[in-house]
Amino acid sequence: MAPFFKYGFFTEQTGLIIALILGVSFGFWLERAGFGYSRKLALQFYFKDMTVLNVMFTAIVVAMLGLLLFSLFGWLDITKIYINPTYLWAQLIGGLILGVGFAIGGYCPGTSVVGAVTGHVDAYFFLGGAMFGMFVFGEMFPSLEGLYNWGAMGDVRLSDVFNISSGVVALAVVILAILFFLGGEWLENKFGKEGL
């Protein structure tokens, strides 16, 4: 039964090789979507190219449906899947800061790596900046510890908070995604689509 690693189907060393292979696939698809090019990413925020939203929501929906269906068929023990722990306020504030950085820098950490290997000079500056920002965070960590742990809620899912079945949450996410896709296409046409 999946997840295979948690059931000891292979060792940690094999896991690292799998990480490499999954990373290749991850990088490949990011580049295919055009996420190596900062302007394409940033035009998202001017409603001229909604690729970021479309790719992200498609990926989320596919992975989410897959997870829940596999769990429904009894192929996968969903409780053994790592869930990002929620630190509500830390993640809200962190997200706001990161969003500002996204609009200014034009990349996010994963895409800047793809940008760098495909020859985008600005991605190197972005990477340097990101490492500097992380260094600053590490230096300030002792005084930020309270903020860092603010709003700790443990491994909670949306279904726990709203007290509904995760299947219903999944349906809501699918509907939300389709609305975003259609709305995105409408906005692209309205604000002048720029095909890059």
Binding site: V61, L65, I78, P85, G154, V156, V174, I178
Partner: protein, 210 residues
């Protein structure tokens, strides 16, 4: 609406979402209880153990979400205990008030005098559905020995051994709390660290995030 591959994709997504919304997805999750073969293999490979140093690191780092549960009788607990540990004697482990003290999403570290009772408690909690539970390797007997009178490594020693020795010396006063060398040997002292095995999964806690 015209039929394009995009619209077919949307349709499939919506259909699968609808199926999920009306199916008992969450009922399937309970399978985590009583996966006995997995528990047995963890016991056998000793991956349920956590080393004293790792726990000490967590205490120093104030790692959030870690709870140390001392399952010795209350009297022993009063004499000395690991800083920050709570006391739930083994016989009260499954009482409702005790279970409420243990957050299911927390990382639990069970300690008794040796390994045996803590391992039994580990099994009980795992069956109760607690996912992240460890047994302090060697129990309090080893803890006291490690931090109140750490043994100097004998030649030839590795860097790792020296580092561990220095860490134990330095962390000793904090880790021992009030009483230094207390004598309590209800269970026969266990000699830990006879088996050299790789620590895995324990470290996972540190950063899985992004």
């Amino acid at each position: 609406m015209k039929i394009s591959s995009r619209n077919i994709g949307f349709g499939i997504m919506l259909l699968l979402g609808l199926i999920l919304a009306f199916s008992p997805v969450d009922k399937m999750n309970i399978s985590k209880v009583a996966d006995r073969e997995l528990l047995l293999s963890q016991l056998h490979s000793q991956s349920n153990y956590i080393e004293a140093e790792d726990v000490a690191h967590w205490i120093i780092d104030k790692e959030p979400g870690v709870l140390i549960v001392d399952i010795r009788p209350a009297g022993d607990y009063m004499k000395y205990h690991i800083p920050g540990a709570i006391n739930i004697p083994l016989e009260k482990l499954l009482e409702k008030s005790s279970l409420e003290l243990m957050d299911p999403s927390a990382t639990l570290v069970l300690t008794s005098n040796g390994n045996t009772k803590a391992s039994q408690a580990w099994l009980l909690l795992k069956e109760k559905g607690y996912d992240d539970v460890y047994v302090l390797h060697g129990g309090m007997n080893h803890w006291v020995e490690a931090f109140s009178a750490p043994r100097k490594p004998v030649e030839p020693y590795t860097d790792d051994e020296v580092f561990r020795y220095q860490f134990r010396l330095a962390a000793g006063p904090v880790m021992m709390g009030t009483a230094r060398a207390a004598q309590s040997t209800r269970e026969a002292p266990v000699k830990p660290r006879t088996i050299k095995r790789k620590r895995r999964s324990v470290k996972k806690k540190v950063d899985e995030g992004c």
